[in-house]
Symmetry: C2
Subunit: 194 residues, 2 copies
């Protein structure tokens, strides 16, 4: 099944840290699919994160994130500004191989929400790539290649086609969508029903 995630999305952080162990425990294979929520938000008339537009939702989300991260032993620092610009990171994640993407993505989330570092900056991203044994300069060039930019646009358009209401989402091979960090188990269990 597919794990759809957005680097600027708060709840994608604990989900990214949980999903592989949950999938492995069930013997389910998961493909990581980074996408951009921006076009989905714009289609709904939002020019900012709904957590900023709607203060009650935002206050609730940050307190909820504190509880979730505490229960998982994860650090939590609010990125400033929030949300972070996630375009470059998403392009990098997409240009990596399916086997490299999860580790890179988790390290980005850790830098962003665990340490409050700016994820739009190559200065944040290059050391993460180097740390994974990748050639950061080469990856950054390939990430900004027109073909890869177009691929991310298509992937984000596909997210709209599927009807993803937000991030993170698990999507089963039979097209069921499970939205939210708190629905990972339900999504993976659905896959087991087949």
């Amino acid at each position: 099944m597919d794990f759809w995630y957005e680097f600027a999305s708060t709840y994608s952080y604990p989900a990214a840290m949980r999903v592989e162990a949950l999938a492995a425990a069930r013997g389910v294979a998961v493909t990581w699919r980074p996408f951009l929520l921006g076009p989905i938000f714009v289609a709904q008339g939002w020019r900012d994160s709904p957590f900023n537009i709607y203060p009650a939702k935002g206050r609730y989300m940050w307190r909820d994130m504190e509880r979730i991260c505490a229960s998982m032993g994860l650090p939590l620092v609010r990125p400033d500004p929030f949300p972070q610009h996630s375009l470059l990171t998403a392009r990098i994640a997409l240009v990596l191989g399916d086997d490299e993407r999860p580790a890179f993505s988790r390290k980005v989330y850790r830098a962003e929400f665990g340490e409050g570092r700016p994820i739009a900056e190559p200065a944040t991203l290059a050391p993460i790539l180097d740390g994974l044994g990748l050639d950061a300069d080469d990856v950054l060039v390939r990430a900004q290649n027109p073909d890869n930019k177009e691929r991310l646009k298509l992937q984000s358009a596909r997210a709209i086609e599927i009807g993803l209401p937000g991030a993170p989402c698990l999507v089963t091979v039979d097209g069921e969508v499970f939205w939210g960090n708190d629905r990972l188990e339900d999504g993976l269990d659905w896959a087991l029903r087949r």
Copy 2:
């Protein structure tokens, strides 16, 4: 702890059907607090349910409700129109005793989302009250009493003060809010930590 719910809210239906057994299994006492989401939505600039305003959210929610209700063995019929006007029902629920409110509320949810019946109509509500051994005529008069109307306004204002982002919510005695049918277990488990 407090179970805050809105009769027009879809996810409040499975939550209302689940919460008492979950609470009893943990030895946690729960007070049912009906409130109106309308003022919260208006404060966010919404004149309709966000599930109607944002089609991707709406489509996702209805499919999710189908899955949840199927897994619980609950019937699901989409009320028409959606959302239903919940003012009268909320007033009735509030004027009832704490011990009468849960059973009344579950029967209303069953009529609304299980059978598609109009919950703004005394013709739907009176037989439910009678079936619970209550005097429907007397309850309807007391529900429309100015004091009770004011009490519902205050209860809904309290929901805004607490910062409820939607319905259903569990609120612990130490002020933690857990939003959503899928967070009932987390909310009740939090109460046990004390």
